[in-house]
Symmetry: C2
Subunit: 404 residues, 2 copies
């Protein structure tokens, strides 16, 4: 049980946010640095990329989160500070600048960077100009915009829920548009809540929900070096701390976090670089949830499926082909595939074979922004959903010359 509310990352009590232009990249005038602040120290949990190449800020954040506590977050765009000269030193300087600005210990700062890989972060700009930033109780939108790279829209969501007779709030912002094939959190996602919750429980819950949300989206199959998803819980809702799954409020907290993660993940998929369609693939009838997930992710990751979706072409052969090379065991002769959108529903493959279908209706269904691919196998009762986007001219355009 939860309710959708407004306020984004500042929806929870005691959280302020803001952004400013520090001048990290020459020639760019837009805000490039966001800060999030909690009035009191928070219990913090996080998941990070599984990419062997990890950005420096991620390594610094990992160190700082060893004690499970954080109070401030600094996120810069325009530079990923990955494989960059002076990477670790500059990530520490960025965290130190934030600590000084917020007047909190350095180890209570989470630091994240996003942007181009392999160039030195001009951290001096942050050190010199961070004081210009104004923290506000309604600063979520500003912060969410400052962390955008090739994103075309800011991405926020917030909910409220009950725990131990108290109303708790939870909100998040995230960014991500390219290099999206998360394998442990997405590019960057920050979630705040005023719910009081035990750290280990929070970490386990975050991992569980990231696995069925951010880890089920793909824009281009490229797992970033900077993927980070953090949640900060400051306890200001004054509920009795949730310490176990059986405690009052846990179910609501879990539902709220799941909703938030899925909403934010879908927003990333929908805003995939160059995307003109949000593709949802629902696989049912699988032997296990892992099998269903493997099949759904393979479909959403297929370049050929993605290009067909761009063309609104009901080329379902590519869908069954992508299922076939997923590595998951299933009987191809028992597969059925349908396309579903606001314009209707159409069955295009049954028992693994073509069925006659109305191409005009299929075109109409596939021309909607959001298209659902429903694939059924007959191996069991498990199901899973994955999200992606189409492959377009603009993806190629954006990525043919990203650095300039």
């Amino acid at each position: 049980m939860f309710e959708v509310i407004s306020g984004g990352i500042c929806a929870a009590k005691g959280f302020l946010a803001g952004a400013t232009h520090c001048g990290i990249r020459e020639g760019s005038k837009s805000n490039d640095t966001a800060v999030i602040y909690s009035e009191v120290p928070c219990t913090a949990a996080a998941v990070f990329t599984k990419n062997r190449v990890k950005a420096s800020p991620l390594l610094v954040t990992k160190e700082h989160l060893k004690n499970g506590r954080a109070q401030g977050v600094i996120i810069n765009s325009k530079n990923a500070n990955a494989c960059a000269p002076d990477g670790m030193a500059n990530a520490r300087r960025e965290a130190a600048a934030c600590a000084k600005f917020l007047n909190i210990p350095e180890e209570d700062v989470i630091v994240c960077s996003t942007g181009v890989i392999g160039q030195r972060l001009y951290v001096e700009a942050i050190e010199e100009n961070l004081h210009l930033l104004q923290l506000k109780p309604d600063g979520s939108d500003e912060a969410s915009r400052a962390i955008m790279t090739t994103d075309t829209t800011p991405k926020t969501a917030a909910v409220s829920f009950q725990a131990g007779g108290k109303t708790c709030h939870m909100g998040g912002i995230c960014k991500g548009s390219g290099m999206i094939h998360p394998n442990m959190g997405t590019m960057i996602c920050m979630i705040t809540t005023d719910c009081a919750v035990d750290r280990e429980l929070l970490q386990a819950l975050l991992l569980e929900k990231v696995n069925i949300s951010f880890n089920r989206i793909s824009v281009d199959g490229d797992t970033s070096t900077n993927d980070t998803c953090c949640i900060l819980a400051n306890g200001m809702a004054a509920n009795q701390q949730i310490k176990a799954k059986t405690d009052d409020g846990y179910e609501n907290l879990a539902e709220a976090l799941e909703y938030l993660c899925i909403q934010l993940a879908r927003k990333i998929a929908a805003d995939g670089e160059g995307a003109t369609h949000l593709i949802t693939c629902k696989v049912s009838g699988a032997a296990s949830e892992a099998d269903a997930e493997g099949l759904a992710k393979s479909v959403c990751s297929s370049s050929l499926v993605k290009a067909a979706m761009f063309g609104a072409d009901a080329n379902w052969g590519r869908i069954i082909c992508a299922m076939g090379y997923s590595g998951i065991v299933f009987d191809p002769e028992k597969v059925s595939i349908s396309f579903v959108s606001d314009a209707g529903r159409i069955l295009v493959c049954d028992e693994g074979k073509a069925v006659d279908f109305d191409e005009d209706l299929a075109k109409k269904i596939l021309s909607e922004f959001e298209v659902v691919i429903e694939a059924k196998v007959q191996e069991g009762t498990a199901q899973a959903t994955a999200w992606g986007c189409d492959l377009t001219y603009d993806y190629v355009k954006i990525n043919g010359d990203y650095r300039t």
Copy 2:
């Protein structure tokens, strides 16, 4: 030791080939059916796709090759006969039509199809019109053109080599342009030789060479339902049959086959759908060949690397990122990356960090058709090469509306 010769699939003694227009797809006027014939029965070996969804002709070919013998090959384009109504029956009818035409037993026919998935093969067209086909000693070019789909060039290669004091010949044709991420042979590749060689040895050798050629190319990460690579050896060179790796001629045979497979694989990568660059990634200094291969393939398969190559953008961060998510263990801080082409060589990353480089020279190097990415790790002495192509507007265009 081998020499490059002409003649393609007909370079080896006793092999004839030809093609004709049967009319498999309404409205298309080009040749859609090729036949290859050996004057005497051949020892045959083959490798097939690992996609769980397998095209019907592939299953029929597998049955027919159980006895290790074949004498004729029929390949049709315009329809993959995968997930298609009457798929198995039509694949058998196609093989039967070829057997009748060549006056050989059905089980000595290899049958392959390539084209759209999920539509019924109009096998009646083949049955009615196959008699129009003329087998010729110089029919390789005609056959290689008839099996093209989105290919823009026919793909052939041939070599001669010595075995047991006799001159042997080996030639091949292949096709492939999209849905290329072979996992056991490419789309379709046929190789012929007049060398006498034991079947089990030939099968093992084919597998070995396919693994370092076709299985190291990627156009779009999509492993096809129809991948088939066959070799036919008719023994007409009259060399003493090669039965063991220590036999005279084995080394030459192995070198010849490796050269042929790599040449044909490179031609597929170079003619990837929409490609404007052939990308070669050489990884050295790896702990094992499998590690080097995993790293090289991850780089060649990355959408972001491919898009950067299209833009001739020296965005090496994407290369180290793709290495990072390959699943292979290495120390990112010991990676160096260079770009090499006919226009020169440039180091862009050393010890895992950016180095200052001349962007103009990098642009020049990356503007050549063939670009080599050299990545060195410091884990051992193993190396491997993989091939791919860039990701372009035309890839999206071709695949946005493939069926019409």
